[in-house]
C-alpha cells in the first residue's frame, strides 16, 4: 500500500539525491561551501540519531562524546601510527567503543543506575576519555588535536579520504545518514523497542513479563555507541582534523543531548532536525553577525557566543514548554488535528 508517507519519503529522497545539483543551481559557484554545511549537518544528524536510540528510552547518556572521540581517534591513530586503513580502523574503533559502552553500561544496568546517576556516571566516563586523549599527547596531539595523515593528493579510497571531492563526500555522508535512519526505523519496529519502552517506564514490571532488562539495555547501548563511534570516525575522515574538544568530551556530549532534545527525541527526524537547527543557527549567527557592520558594532565580541546563548535559552524553554521537541510537538499537533 502506498501512503502519503511513502510518497513524501520518495520525494524527499529524490531531492536529497539531487541536492548537489540543486545547490549548484541555487548557489552557483559557492556550492562547495553549502555542501560542506550540509555534510556537517548530516554527520552530526547521524551521531544524534545514534544517541537518540538510547536517549529515547530514558538512558540519558552524557557519555557519547567519549564514543565519538574513540571512533575518531582510534581510526586516525591506527592510520597514522600503524598504517592500518580506516576500512579496518573504523570497525576496530567501533568495536572498541562498543566494548567501552558495554563495560560502563553493564554495571549501570545491573545495579539499576538510572536517571541523573546514570547521567553523572557517563559524564565521568566522557571526561575520563577526553583526559586520556589529552594525556596521551605524544600520540593524539594533545589538547589541540591532530589530523589523519594525508594519503596521496588527499582523495583516496584506500585511506578513506574523500574530503576534496565534495559531491562524493556528500553521497558518502548521505548514505551514512540514511543507514542511521534505517537503523532507527528497524529498532523502532522491533520488539526490543517495546521492551525498552516498557523498561524505561517500569523495570520491575518489565522484568515480571520476562524481559531481561539488562540485556535489552546492553544491546541498545552497544548499537548506539558503535553508531556514535562510526559517526566520529566519519567526522574525522571528512574534517581531516580531530580535537579533544571538537569530537570528544563533555561539550560534545552536551551538544548531542541538547540538539536531540530540541529536535525531538521520539521522532525519526527529531535528531536530524536538531542537527539542522544547531548547525545552521551557529553558522548563520557567526557569519551573519560578523558580516553585518551594524550588528557587530552593537554586539562587538558578544556576537561570538550569541549562538550558544540563543541555543541555551531555547533549550531551557524547550524542556519547560516543549519536552517532546520540535518535531515531536509538531507531529502531535498534526495528529491531533487529523484526529479531530
Amino acid at each position: 500500500m502506498i501512503t502519503q508517507k511513502h510518497i513524501a519519503g520518495a520525494i524527499g529522497l529524490v531531492v536529497l539525491l539531487l541536492l548537489p545539483v540543486l545547490i549548484k543551481l541555487i548557489f552557483p559557484g559557492t556550492d562547495r561551501y553549502y555542501l560542506h554545511l550540509v555534510i556537517q549537518i548530516l554527520i552530526w544528524a547521524f551521531i544524534y540519531t545514534g544517541w537518540s536510540l538510547m536517549g529515547r528510552f530514558g538512558l540519558t547518556s552524557l557519555g557519547h562524546g567519549a564514543f565519538t572521540g574513540i571512533g575518531a581517534y582510534v581510526t586516525v591513530l591506527l592510520w597514522n601510527f600503524a598504517g592500518i586503513t580506516p576500512w579496518i580502523g573504523i570497525p576496530v574503533a567501533m568495536v572498541v567503543a562498543t566494548i567501552a559502552g558495554v563495560l560502563v553500561g553493564y554495571p549501570c544496568f545491573r545495579l539499576r543506575i538510572t536517571g541523573h546517576y546514570f547521567a553523572l556516571l557517563t559524564l565521568a566516563f566522557t571526561e575520563f576519555v577526553r583526559l586520556c586523549i589529552v594525556g596521551l599527547r605524544d600520540w593524539t596531539g594533545g589538547s589541540l588535536g591532530t589530523q589523519p595523515a594525508r594519503y596521496g593528493d588527499g582523495l583516496s579510497l584506500y585511506a578513506f579520504q574523500f574530503e576534496p571531492n565534495r559531491v562524493l563526500a556528500y553521497y558518502i555522508v548521505l548514505a551514512v545518514w540514511l543507514i542511521g535512519l534505517a537503523i532507527w526505523i528497524k529498532v523502532d519496529r522491533s520488539m526490543d523497542r517495546y521492551a525498552l519502552d516498557a523498561a524505561s517506564q517500569d523495570e520491575d514490571a518489565a522484568a515480571s513479563v520476562g524481559i531481561n532488562v539488562t540485556r535489552e539495555k546492553l544491546k541498545i547501548t552497544a548499537l548506539s555507541s558503535a553508531m556514535c563511534a562510526f559517526g566520529g570516525a566519519i567526522y574525522g575522515q571528512y574534517q581531516m582534523y580531530i580535537g579533544p574538544d571538537t569530537i570528544a568530551g563533555l561539550g560534545v556530549s552536551l551538544n548531542i543531548v541538547f540538539a536531540v532534545i530540541a529536535g525531538g527525541i521520539w521522532s525519526l527526524f527529531g535528531p536530524t532536525f536538531g542537527a539542522v537547527f544547531t548547525q545552521v543557527l551557529a553558522e548563520t549567527l557567526r557569519v551573519g553577525l560578523r558580516g553585518s557592520e551594524t550588528l557587530s558594532k552593537i554586539l562587538g565580541q558578544s556576537a561570538l557566543a550569541l549562538d550558544t546563548f540563543i541555543y541555551g535559552l531555547l533549550l531551557v524553554l524547550f524542556i519547560i514548554y516543549m519536552p517532546k521537541g520540535v518535531v515531536g510537538t509538531l507531529a502531535e499537533r498534526w495528529k491531533r488535528k487529523a484526529g479531530s
Binding site: 545495579l111 541523573h116 586520556c132 563533555l250 557566543a305 541555551g312 533549550l315 531551557v316
Partner: protein
C-alpha cells in the same frame, strides 16, 4: 614502551611528595566547599544543577567586574558577589527548576544544562573568552624545600570555616533543621507546617551563596574565563555522588580522596592523568557501591 606518559613517571617519596600530599589537602578544602553547595541542593530539592560550577564562574566575573571596572574594594566586591550569586541561585530555582519539578529528574538535569550554555555564553558576550585575573599575588610560605601558596591556605581555612558556619546553621535553626529533614521525607513536610517552596528557595539561595563564596576563593588562585566551570563542574558532581548524595560529611571526605588523586597523580605523572585516574576511581566506586562511599543504602 606502550604509553608515552610513563616517560614522565616520576614518583620518588621525597619532600616534594609530601608537599603534593599537603597541597592535595588544601585543594580538598575548595572542592569540599564546591560540593557542599551542590550537595545541599541535591539533597533538598533532588535536582542536580549541572550548571553549578557556572554559577561560580558568574561569581568570579562579578568580582572581576566590581574590582577592575567599578573599582570597588576587594572585600566589598566579595560580599556583593556572594549576594549576587545567592540571588542567581534563587532565581535559577524560581525560573527554571520550579516549572520542571514534576518532570522526570533527567529533564531537571538537562534544563540546568541549558542554563550552563546560557551562562557560558552570557559570560563570553560580556567579557570575551580571554583569561582574566585580578592580579592578586599573595606569595607563599616555605618549610624547607616545601612551599605552600597563601592563596591555597586561605582558601582552605575559609572553606573550612564556611562549612562550620553552615553546619551551625543547619543544626541550630528551624529552617536549617527543615533543610536537613526534607531529604529524609519530602511528603510529610507540609504536616510540619513547612512550606516546601520556601525551603527550596532558601536552599537554592544558600547553595548559590556557597557558589559565590567559592568564587571569592577561586579568584585568588585561578584565572577567570567562561569555560572554567567545565574544569570544576564534573569534579564537583563526582565528589557529591561519591560522598553519598545529601551526605555532607561524606562529600567532605570524598573531596579529600579526589584531591589526593589529582595532586599526587598530577605530580607523579601529568596533570591530566591525575584527573583521569580520579574519574576512573569514581566510576569503579559507583559500580561497587552505587550509593556512594558514605551514602546510606536505600
Amino acid at each position: 614502551m606502550m604509553f608515552g606518559f610513563f616517560s614522565s613517571l616520576d614518583c620518588s617519596l621525597d619532600i616534594f611528595f609530601v608537599e603534593a600530599l599537603i597541597n592535595g589537602v588544601l585543594l580538598a578544602g575548595l572542592l569540599a566547599l564546591l560540593a557542599l553547595g551542590l550537595n545541599l541542593i541535591f539533597g533538598v530539592i533532588d535536582v542536580v544543577w549541572i550548571c553549578y560550577a557556572e554559577l561560580v564562574m558568574i561569581g568570579m566575573y562579578a568580582i572581576f567586574y566590581f574590582v577592575q571596572v567599578l573599582g570597588l574594594p576587594l572585600p566589598l566586591a566579595f560580599l556583593l558577589a556572594i549576594g549576587l550569586v545567592a540571588c542567581s541561585g534563587a532565581l535559577l530555582h524560581y525560573l527554571v527548576i520550579r516549572p520542571v519539578l514534576d518532570q522526570p529528574p533527567i529533564n531537571q538535569l538537562l534544563v540546568t544544562g541549558g542554563v550552563l550554555f546560557l551562562l557560558q555564553a552570557a559570560a563570553t558576550m560580556a567579557f570575551g573568552i580571554e583569561f582574566r585575573n585580578l592580579g592578586i599575588r599573595l606569595g607563599s610560605v616555605n618549610f624547607g624545600d616545601m612551599s605552600f601558596a597563601w592563596s591555597r591556605i586561605i582558601t582552605f581555612a575559609v572553606a573550612l570555616g564556611a562549612m562550620i558556619v553552615l553546619w551551625q546553621f543547619l543544626t541550630r535553626t528551624y529552617i536549617g533543621t527543615a533543610i536537613r529533614a526534607i531529604s529524609q521525607d519530602r511528603q510529610i513536610m507540609p504536616l510540619m507546617g513547612v512550606d516546601q517552596k520556601k525551603v527550596y528557595l532558601a536552599t537554592s539561595a544558600i547553595g548559590g551563596g556557597l557558589a559565590g563564596l567559592a568564587a571569592c576563593l577561586m579568584v585568588l588562585q585561578y584565572d577567570i574565563y567562561p569555560q572554567i566551570g567545565l574544569q570544576f563542574g564534573p569534579l564537583t558532581f563526582m565528589i557529591c555522588v561519591l560522598g553519598g548524595l545529601g551526605n555532607m560529611v561524606g562529600g567532605f571526605v570524598a573531596a579529600f580522596i579526589i584531591a589526593q588523586f589529582i595532586t599526587i597523580g598530577g605530580s607523579c605523572v601529568a596533570t591530566e592523568w591525575g584527573y583521569a585516574v580520579a574519574f576512573l576511581f569514581f566510576m569503579l566506586v559507583i559500580f561497587v557501591r552505587p550509593q556512594g562511599l558514605f551514602g546510606a543504602k536505600s
